[in-house]
Amino acid sequence: MNIDKKQTLLASLGKILDKNSILEKEEDLRPYECDGLSAYRQLPMLVVLPETIAEIQAIVHLCQQQKIPVVARGAGTGLSGGALPSDDCLLLGLARLNKILDIDKNNLLATVQPGVRNLAISDAVSGLGLYYAPDPSSQIACTIGGNVAENSGGVHCLKYGLTVHNIAQLKVVTIDGELLTIGGFTYDSPGYDLLALMTGSEGLLGIIVEVTVRLLPKPETAKVILASFDDIEKAGEAVNNIISAGIIPAGLEMMDTLAIRAAEDFVHAGYPSDACAILLCELDGTSVEVTDQIASVEHLLTSSGATEIRTSANEEERQLFWKGRKAAFPSVGRISPDYYCMDGTIPRKALASILGQISQLSVDYGLPVANVFHAGDGNLHPLILYDANIPGELEKTEEFGGRILELCVAAGGTITGEHGVGMEKIDQMCVQFKPLELTQFHAIKSAFDPDNLLNPGKAVPTLHRCAELGAMHVHHGKLSHPELDRF
């Protein structure tokens, strides 16, 4: 870090923000050294906590003038290191912009500041019988700005889509400090679909300073079926049979033995601990519709070989069935000192084969894996259990994780379904994309941010990095001189 640079920046920032909004002491910077991927840590040069769009415009413009990298951060719950600072960056914390600005119940829109929590939106419109559909598991804490930056998903994507399907308009500050309005309140907007391009761009194209989300009416009723299987392949087949019958469940989740047992021991949701797999199938809509579809799905599950089927009798039981699934990550955290959460997506038909290969790798690496799966949309979350205190085990885990993602790509899937690339999966991007596509991504980046100041080094690897990685794969399979920075 260049001390002069920092002093110059501090002096200029002092003209924009009051001193309570600028953090520079190490103990103040410490909470910002990592996001939800805590294995990666780095103190930023400075943290600023603006409260208005005008302040953000001035800050970003300043950083452009002084060539300071800008890393935007919401609640810091991301799982891919997207908000990981660099030692020369200004970390732009957006959590203070936490107001709900407008609710348009007739057009089913809510306009909010980026630091508003995902669940706070649904809470605010609940009295109107409405909600915001995307529900990442961190929804109690994560912010909508971060959701847009990552194109967050959740357990209801199969029916209700991802963030990109549920937002109408964004206000974005460009690296020039200019404020752009992207999208609109109509069902389509003139110009390119920059709303899609910005969603999931991980803070590399602009700073999201206002979000208008689309709201939905709360379903009249929802019920969930808990089905047990003695064979994971049968559970996969059951998923296909439900989809083939023309039913799109609101949620369709699968867990394997290790995940089931961990969850059951933790929250006592009544899961059958002897099952090889369970499916949770939620159906929502009007009462007649749900009653009818529950009957169909129960029948389909039975004929697919489910060993036990239970349907939630009331809202309390529905919540209990979900409780185990929602507690899957922390409950795995109880049985292992550390765990590493992967996020690949595969075509559903590849499920049995991928799970087979993962369990073989698990034996090879000597690391247990618990599998939690958004079965409806093919998004797989293998949790690798490890102990960071054992020297070399984190590196071994990362390598194992990388192998899983490569399996996903080979099966026609992707390295990240909803957590983003960030810093974590930057090397797997070299497997997912060829140099021409990566070059095109860099060209898009340059169109928005020619000096590469917005969240640099994340999401899209340089060709050089990929070439070096490719060579290293061939020669060693693991990095030599791991202490060296590689770009």
């Binding site: 348009d104 057009n107 089913l108 019988g129 409405l130 990552e150 194109n151 889509g161 991802l162 399907h165 460009t174 200019e178 752009l180 309140f185 109509t186 069902y187 389509d188 907007s189 003139p190 110009g191 390119y192 679909d193 899609a196 391009l197 009416p217 379903p219 989809i243 083939s244 023309g246 039913i247 799109i248 809509g285 009007t286 007649v288 519709e289 009653t291 009818d292 997506t345 595969i346 075509p347 038909k349 949309d377 998004n379 026609g412 899937g413 992707t414 379904g417 909803e418 983003g420 690339v421 991007m429 997912q432 994309f433 060829k434 596509e437 095109q440 991504f441 898009i444 169109a447 899209v460």
Partner: protein, 352 residues
């Protein structure tokens, strides 16, 4: 089923080297909207064939020149549909043209637009490079979302070669009803319907009648019809077809046809000409000789925007122009994909 991607790639490469502007065309079914007189034609319509279709994965991948007719016929055999109910405007309309124009039919407010269903694509950029974005899975956040960016880009960022599209199960039952009311009441009722969980899948108002289509689970549709009342619409399939394809008597006119996209619950634009309301209040089709400036102003005042869709008296001012900073960004993005500005440059200046 033919693969002419190498040939198309050669043509684009050559055009890039010779700085020869190209006009990309599928079957030409949307010529009434998009034309270019001078540029060399790049014909994609023989690049055809369904490459992969797996009903249980809810995805179909097809070459851009494949006709919507072929795709929708195939889907129907497996009781599936394109959720955005694309208009064809000609029996030959292609998948590529439909996506390039982001065209969606009556189901759009309730199921999503063309762009919402795109999972992946293969394109040729303006350098003649073959690129692949996205894939065949629903959840995929690796790299910038360059697939959805192609929807509504009118081919100005790349020649669409292949598209992977999410499909939906065909609703178990569909029934349509008619309710007599004026437009203001119709907007109010459509707003109320959106605020409740129900099975509405299309809502259109014309000649003092609100037409509602209810789709989904048979029990739910029957219940909704009973609750809503009104008169059952016989031959409903045909009615919605005529709305989607502009074959309804309303559209039989030589007057300029304007398309106004308005937030659905907002008051109607203040223009007292002949209009048809679709998308539950979100889309107005307007037949009028009024000047473009007046129509665009009225659309803007109602919170939306306007496009001169058919029968223009003149070509200029058909589309809504972007504010200066947005236009500058569009130019940079265009340059990132097409540095020689050879892909539909005419459309770029006209539409964007």
């Amino acid at each position: 089923m033919t693969d002419i991607s190498r040939d198309l790639q050669q043509q684009v490469k050559q055009a890039f080297n010779n700085q020869q502007p190209l006009f990309i065309q599928g079957s030409g079914s949307k010529q009434f909207l998009l034309q270019s007189e001078n540029d060399q034609l790049l014909n994609v319509c023989t690049h055809t064939g369904v490459i992969n279709y797996e009903p249980t994965e809810l995805v179909i991948t097809a070459r851009a020149g494949t006709s919507l007719n072929e795709i929708e016929t195939l889907l129907k055999q497996h009781k599936q549909i394109l959720g955005f109910e694309p208009p064809r405007f000609s029996s030959t309309a292609t998948l590529g043209g439909t996506i390039a124009c982001n065209m969606s039919g009556p189901r759009r407010p309730y199921a999503g637009a063309a762009r919402d269903f795109i999972l992946g694509c293969e394109i040729i950029n303006g350098r003649g490079e073959l690129l692949h974005f996205g894939g065949e899975v629903m959840k995929n956040v690796a790299g910038y979302d360059s697939s959805r960016l192609m929807a509504g880009a009118y081919g100005t960022l790349g020649v669409l070669l292949e598209l992977s599209i999410r499909v939906l199960p065909q609703p178990e039952m569909e029934q349509s009803i008619m309710l007599e009311m004026n437009r203001e009441e119709a907007i109010k009722i459509c707003t109320q319907f959106r605020q409740q969980a129900n099975t509405v899948s299309a809502a259109c108002h014309i000649n003092q009648q609100l037409y509602l289509r209810l789709s989904g689970n048979a029990q739910a549709v029957k219940q909704a019809c009973e609750q809503t009342g009104g008169e059952t619409l016989d031959d409903a399939g045909n009615f919605w077809q005529t709305i989607k394809e502009h074959q309804h008597p309303f559209f039989q006119s030589q007057k300029p046809l304007w398309r106004l996209s308005i937030p659905p619950a907002n008051a109607a634009p203040e223009l007292d000409d002949d209009s048809l309301l679709d998308w539950g209040g979100g889309l107005y089709w307007l037949l009028t000789n009024l000047p473009a400036a007046q129509i665009k102003m009225a659309a803007a005042n109602a919170g939306g925007h306007a496009t001169l869709f058919r029968n223009p008296a003149e070509e200029k001012d058909r589309f809504t122009s972007l504010p200066a900073p947005m236009r500058a960004l569009h130019k940079k993005l265009k340059q990132a994909f097409d540095p020689g500005s050879i892909l539909n440059p005419d459309l770029f200046s006209k539409v964007l």
